[in-house]
Subunit: 226 residues, 2 copies
């Protein structure tokens, strides 16, 4: 059984009128009740897409829809919501079966992310878009130091470093493999090495952009290897 839901409500800054609604949002399907949080997750997923979409639409008035989509995709995904769920200690409050609990359910990204979506869906149902929006955006702003296209790129290098340190105990090395074109239109080719093995190679208008792109590819590769 979970700890007191009031503590979660305090952390969220929202008190549910209908306690059954928050219980449903916190109920994993393994708990075998006549309800679970999957329908609320379906709703919350769309609520969060709109909340974050509108936030970025307003914040980045000069960004085209391609860049808005990219930034949103970096925030609205399992890893992003898992982070927000953990900031609320959501895992402690989820109702799940003993089997799922023993299987590390309270620590699973998918489970945490889904429960977070369901909680936002529940707030939306009871209090509307604006209230759900201020709670979700508050959490996002607190848990993401900077929200921009630049920070997305920076994140790939940070993510890669975190991954290689955890897995190999070392930091990745970036090497400029070639550069071509006149000064005002240079293209740099950068490769990223981990333990002297090349993991990815990418080109860009600056070394920084090429590094970031190669880091992104290496992260994807390492995640697949795992």
């Amino acid at each position: 059984m979970s700890t007191n839901i009031e503590i979660l409500e305090n952390t969220l800054g929202y008190t549910f009128k209908d306690k059954q609604l928050i219980i449903e949002a916190l109920t994993h399907k393994s708990y075998k009740q006549p309800y679970d949080n999957e329908r609320l997750e379906f709703l919350g997923d769309a609520v969060l897409d709109l909340i974050v979409g509108e936030y970025l639409f307003t914040k980045f008035k000069k960004s085209d829809e391609g860049n808005l989509s990219k930034i949103r995709a970096s925030l609205v995904n399992e890893t992003g919501f898992d982070k927000l769920a953990r900031s609320l200690n959501l895992g402690e409050y989820i109702f799940l079966s003993n089997a799922e609990q023993n299987n590390g359910g309270r620590e699973k990204s998918s489970l945490l992310s889904n429960a977070f979506e369901a909680v936002i869906g529940a707030i939306y149902l009871e209090a509307g878009l604006s209230r759900a929006g201020s709670i979700a955006i508050g959490l996002i702003e607190k848990n993401h130091k900077e929200i921009s296209l630049d920070s997305l790129f920076r994140d790939f290098k940070t993510t890669l470093q975190e991954l290689t340190q955890a897995r190999f105990g070392i930091t990745p090395e970036y090497k400029v493999m070639s550069s071509r074109g006149p000064d005002h239109k240079k293209e740099f080719e950068v490769a990223v090495f981990i333990e002297d093995k090349e993991y990815a190679r990418a080109s860009g208008k600056s070394k920084k952009i090429a590094q970031q792109e190669s880091a992104k590819q290496a992260v994807e590769l390492l995640k697949k290897e795992k």
Copy 2:
């Protein structure tokens, strides 16, 4: 230049306070203005996902999130929005370049669907979710006779028949190829033929389900062939 926007506002049942907003929603990027409808389309896309998601969430209280997603996907897509856009004669009002116009731009599904999303995004920005929702749902209910999982299936057979009649002047033929299993757990295998050529084959717990699934596959195949 487009015809009078007032007529569109009458059809929509919504009068814009900020006329620039509806002009932006109707401006294709080919029109070469400092603005176009792509950012509003980004917003409207998320607005429609939530509007239709919540509508289905409320309408189908017993449906799980998998079925809700399927029904939504059948409504929230280019073909679905193209239908709604045409019901508003949206093509007549879109601002586009002469080149795009001569290229049949006013009849393009993608262009119409994107403009529809942008118009809903614009109404949302000015009047909020509830107003955008009642307008969008009104259009959806008027243009889709029945909204349910059953009607989705039926739609595949109808769609296939429309396609084959337009392209080959004939109707598709369904044949039961095999059935197996005990009576209470039978599986039927059905193939769909067009001009005696097998286009797709699928299995299901009833002939109807297998027909519907094979029709779906044949539709996808025919759309690729084109």
